[in-house]
Symmetry: C2
């Protein structure tokens, strides 16, 4: 079948920061990420799933060494943009499945969720598009999660 | 500089569905997306940014023609997994910036947010990784958003 997986990888170098309850108005994402970029912090993933009653939560991932600085950087914006609070996960594991022909990747994503669920691993963050499926789980669960995915997709390696 | 953009694209075929307040426990994502897949619905993006007090919001995108069916499919799970509610946006525009060397894509994402903010376009959903930056905006704002991005990145086309 024309569904091939380029690779399954585990990234154990990151942390996540979530800005909860930012106003859901034009210019907010611009402001937050300009501030973080100006602080010299490298951002990998940015995820905003939804807004509730005019406010939204935005989560982004950074190298673990930069998590405190990231939280402090966002806190500086409290009076200008206003938000409920900033929370963070100092240590996460990011599992990525990248592939050729992931156009029907919906089928792949379901298998990723199933493999992790079968290991009783909780999914903290999901970020999928046609090129890559990313899930973030607890920092301690990385190798177990990777093994679960390798077992699930053993038949499909390119 | 080694930052090149493969392409900037506009997808005006999708809708989004958000399941709000699902229990943040292993197996929930597996359950939801198995149900949606069994209903024969093609899912493009899946985004979960954060969980608050043991519950999470998961947003996914589907072809516009399948949005009602998607909502009904998720509703069927109400008694088994439990969630607050299901909401949807029947018509969204997805803007994607894909590139070579997006490793330092943080800089690209900020420019995407700025370009849209300057047009007073609100960002409903964000989904970025090292291969692709996706933002979802109102279904009506697609061409205006695309034009803003093409102007912003005019200098960087591969
Ligand atoms: C929440 C944030 O994404 C906001 N909607 C913006 O456009 O910047
Ligand atoms: C919310 C959902 O992602 C849940 N945490 C799961 O692991 O399935």
């Amino acid at each position: 079948e024309d569904l091939l997986i380029d690779g399954i990888s585990l990234d154990e170098t990151q942390a996540t920061v979530t800005v909860c309850g930012v106003p859901d108005q034009p210019g907010v994402a611009d402001r937050v990420f300009n501030e973080v970029a100006d602080a010299g912090i490298f951002v990998d993933m940015i995820v905003q799933s939804f807004s509730r009653r005019d406010s939204a939560d935005i989560t982004f991932s950074v190298p673990r060494a930069d998590v405190e600085k990231s939280v402090a950087t966002v806190e500086r914006l409290r009076s200008t943009i206003g938000f409920e609070r900033v929370t963070h996960l100092p240590s996460v594991a990011k599992l990525s499945v990248a592939g050729i022909g992931l156009r029907s990747h919906g089928g792949i994503a379901v298998r990723v969720f199933k493999a992790l669920a079968d290991e009783d691993i909780n999914i903290a963050m999901i970020n999928t598009s046609e090129m890559q499926i990313n899930v973030v789980i607890d920092g301690e669960a990385g190798s177990r999660g990777l093994a679960a995915l390798q077992k699930q997709f053993g038949d499909m390696r390119a």
